[in-house]
Symmetry: C2
Subunit: 192 residues, 2 copies
Amino acid sequence: MIQYPSGKRIRNQENKPATSSGRGMALEEDINATNAYYLSYDIANIHKKPTPIQVVNVDYPARNRAKITEAYYRQSSTTDYNGVYKGRAIDFEAKETRAKTSFPLASLHQHQIKHLESVDQHGAIAFVIIRFTLLDETYVVFAKELLSFLKTTTRKSIPLTWIKDNGHEVKSTYTTPCHYLEVLDKFIKESL
Amino acid sequence: MIQYPSGKRIRNQENKPATSSGRGMALEEDINATNAYYLSYDIANIHKKPTPIQVVNVDYPARNRAKITEAYYRQSSTTDYNGVYKGRAIDFEAKETRAKTSFPLASLHQHQIKHLESVDQHGAIAFVIIRFTLLDETYVVFAKELLSFLKTTTRKSIPLTWIKDNGHEVKSTYTTPCHYLEVLDKFIKESL
């Protein structure tokens, strides 16, 4: 990260992440930082779940902690993030794309969509956060809207125009680089 | 598992896990089986979070999937289970003990207690499931009761008598070997 003489990071000057392009983890980092802020100010308790790993072999070297020597990544059966906010269960998946005009559906797995549908039916606030990395635009798309769209299309991607119409743009601030709860606040008010 | 000529498992005959003694994972297995039942019958969507593992080294053998060759278990900053039931966020930790008269508090980590307090304040139904393996008794203790107890004591364990008075015994059935939602149903009714 380039430090300008003022000590400010570039992103802070525009309230947008100028360096996120090309880094697959940028959105995850932004969400984690945002969740840490929410937690530390007692706004919400939302966490990323650990990546599921299948452990095959573990060594127990004397006087050392257990060392995993063979393991493999497993596919998660749920979404990556969940928690609680204002008494509501929160559940979402986060995806970023380098595409500029649509979000490729291949990056949303069928089991994730099924999970979002299930938690939505059980009363959670379920959604996907989609970031268009090269456009520096991030949206919340609620599960209900997403599922309606998926049921009426055979497309392999969601047009950005549809996302602009049916999703909700997420603002970025210095302390909350992916401030998705602001979108949810509006949603919670409307649904009460 | 011994199969009797009838094909029934022992535990099925008494609706109690006869083989849980001495196996540290029995409670986890029972909760996982129960959650799978809840999920398949669309009763609730509650999952165990993956164990957090810090990956240090990964090999990418040609034509094979990524193989993790060095990794370590990390301590979780949250509880093990969460999800959604009847619109409410659910969050809990599960512990079993071989003690017969009290539950040793050493097995509940400070960060787990802090997490339970936090999600409870945000409106989740937060609790601990405690199983006395040798007694074959399992209890739900809600975070509010647990935290009140912890604030007024310097004890290093919770007496079973206190748990019997302030907790709620969990029934075991063949399909739901740790049927904790039955306890929650009563709680949800009372709190509305």
